[in-house]
Subunit: 377 residues, 2 copies
């Protein structure tokens, strides 16, 4: 497994990337250290832990890396698909099958070029078996329809429900924002499929005319964060909103989350998108940010390393280089704490909990890092 | 009614106190103006509107004023009681009977000296009929027990429940904080009485040994804000916490709100009060602030002047010269907006909605004002 190429890569990484000293940060409930677990990634976008605490990391340009459980070694996964690596598009999220140890399925989302050689693109989901650091048995299990020429708002996060559905969170492709309100397309939708791409029979619009069967919820802008609530099993999403209007939602089957008919934000530059923030038949967010923090990935914390953070929802932010901790109690939002604003100077694209119970951040920079958050004592 | 003394006072006020120009403030949902409705008050603490939009205002030093509905005229109410006007103590809140128009009852809370001439004091509630700008038929309907020598943490707000109970919110007297956890005293309690001071039979501790019958809820620090939720009829309170740990609570009968056993704050200066923020058998806040904003009065907005603020909870803050708007939706906390941080440079002690649907702020300064918040257009 540790071949010559891997060792070379690892030595290169070790010589250029490790920070010697961890920063200690006093947060409201825990004193923590922030240290570099691995770096040298080019605009990494998504990550997921394997059961042995090693990590899969995507780079937006199209490469997928395996990183060893101590962060010291890495290897490029071969056989990943062609992506449209422009602006916001490229290789995006990665997750593993709930039964990965027995079936080796890995799922990736990415901006896929039009099949006919045209200029359009859209978010697709591929699954493949990860064998000896290579993708095999590749299957495209979802394609966002229609393909459209835009380099913006691809979503996307991949999360499994406790029942084994795969949720794929999508974007509105920016200039197609109005599509988020109609059901004949996948723009501005959260979709729910089975891991092989088939449609769950109880999806809310199955059998409805002019509605796509994959749709779970609609009226979204650009959903880049998602996790399953550890107690309720419900999907929670984080939506990168316009200027002032990032949202946390708990998308329910068939519900309309309002974009762009209602929003708490305005367009970049200040143009009015809608005068309304509330409308009959449209759902209100669970929580929203004005001004925006530029939300990205999100995770519930369920580990034992930080007892006072258990059950809280952590949201990574790009613009403000911070992680928002939403202190939840019995499903209620009690308090927001902003972590690492003064410690980290980087766009934080994703956040995950490792099997070790520590938190890991992914910085979307030209020299991007995986940062490890541990208890200070 | 407008006697010579009143006119003199009014002219004096008019000549010294009116600001010529209103500030316009762009908030997230409404463009508003902030202007001086009346000023020249010495550390005003509480206010309440009469049905004709005139106002009763307390000064902590002991005086109670009537202010005309246009803010131009004022008159001192005679016959108010002696108060202990030291540090945080003095004449505090004022409210009127739900049937004021027929019965003229006015209720005030204040720091009352010990009856035996000793050094102790505590928060008392008097009611009196307001007739020709004088208090008549005075009755002390509640006395916080025991009297204790401290100039701090008196509470207090007075609010009527929809069923006609009077809630009195109290403080822990600072050095008696541990009393907040025992029921044989009124320190750190919310009490519920009838307007004549008698005890509602269904109060939670009636008939229990070593528990005072007036107690509604306990484990509070210093509750200086309170209002009734316009839809649920429930009491909502705002508790001035230690350093980091101001709270909104929805106190339920007989429940323990945890102070000082649990808190999200530390003592002024940083000393640990408790390592715990959560404990079995103790209630969590609805919302809390870390760092503190130094909360004071609070009100639900129910008017028509600001449609997008309807149902929201507004909390006045001293230290940060701001009003926190808690954007509520179906009982959930969706967002906090901080208003007037850059507009008002004064400790905001109380906030009320006028019968005209505008919001009014009371600034606790040596030249304190009533500020009027109106739609800008």
């Amino acid at each position: 497994m540790f071949n010559r190429k891997l060792v070379f890569t690892a030595l290169l990484a070790a010589s250029t990337s490790m920070t010697a000293v961890a920063d200690t940060v006093e947060t409201e409930r825990h004193k923590v250290t922030v240290s570099t677990f691995a770096d040298g990634f080019t605009n990494p976008w998504g990550m997921t832990f394997l059961p042995d605490n090693s990590v899969l990391v995507t780079e937006r340009s199209g490469d997928l890396y395996w990183v060893s459980e101590n962060g010291q070694y890495r290897e490029k996964i071969s056989g990943t698909p062609e992506v449209v690596a422009k602006s916001q598009g490229g290789l995006l999220d990665v997750t593993i099958d709930p039964d990965f140890e027995s079936n080796q399925w890995v799922y990736i989302s990415y901006s896929e070029p039009a099949q006919d050689g045209g200029k359009g693109n859209s978010t697709a989901v591929m699954r493949a078996k990860l064998v000896d650091k290579a993708f095999t048995d590749k299957e495209v299990i979802f394609r966002q329809a229609p393909k459209y020429e835009s380099n913006a708002h691809f979503g996307s996060r991949l999360v499994f429900s406790p029942e084994g559905h795969l949720f794929v969170t999508l974007g509105d492709r920016y200039s197609r924002m109005d599509d988020a309100q109609t059901l004949d397309n996948h723009h501005g939708k959260v979709v729910r499929i089975w891991p092989d791409g088939s449609i769950p029979e109880d999806n809310p619009f199955v059998g409805q005319d002019n509605a796509l069967d994959e749709i779970w919820s609609y009226g979204h802008r650009n959903v880049q964060g998602a996790d399953i609530h550890p107690d309720t099993g419900e999907l929670w999403t984080v939506e990168h909103g316009p200027q002032g209007g990032d949202e946390v939602n708990i998308p329910k089957a068939g519900k309309n989350y309002g974009w762009p008919e209602i929003t708490y934000g305005v367009d970049y530059g200040g143009a009015i998108i809608s005068e309304d923030a509330v409308k009959e038949g449209m759902e209100q967010p669970f929580y929203y940010w004005v001004p925006s923090i530029a939300t990205a990935g999100a995770t519930f914390y369920t580990g034992d390393a930080f007892p006072d953070w258990k059950g809280d929802f952590f949201v990574a932010a790009l613009k403000s280089s911070l992680v928002a901790r939403l202190d939840l109690y019995e499903g209620r939002m009690m308090h927001e704490e902003r972590l690492f604003e003064d410690t980290i100077d980087a766009r934080i694209r994703d956040i995950n909990q490792g099997p070790d119970g520590f938190l890991y951040l992914l910085t979307d920079e030209s020299n991007g890092s995986i940062l490890q958050i541990k208890p200070a004592d």
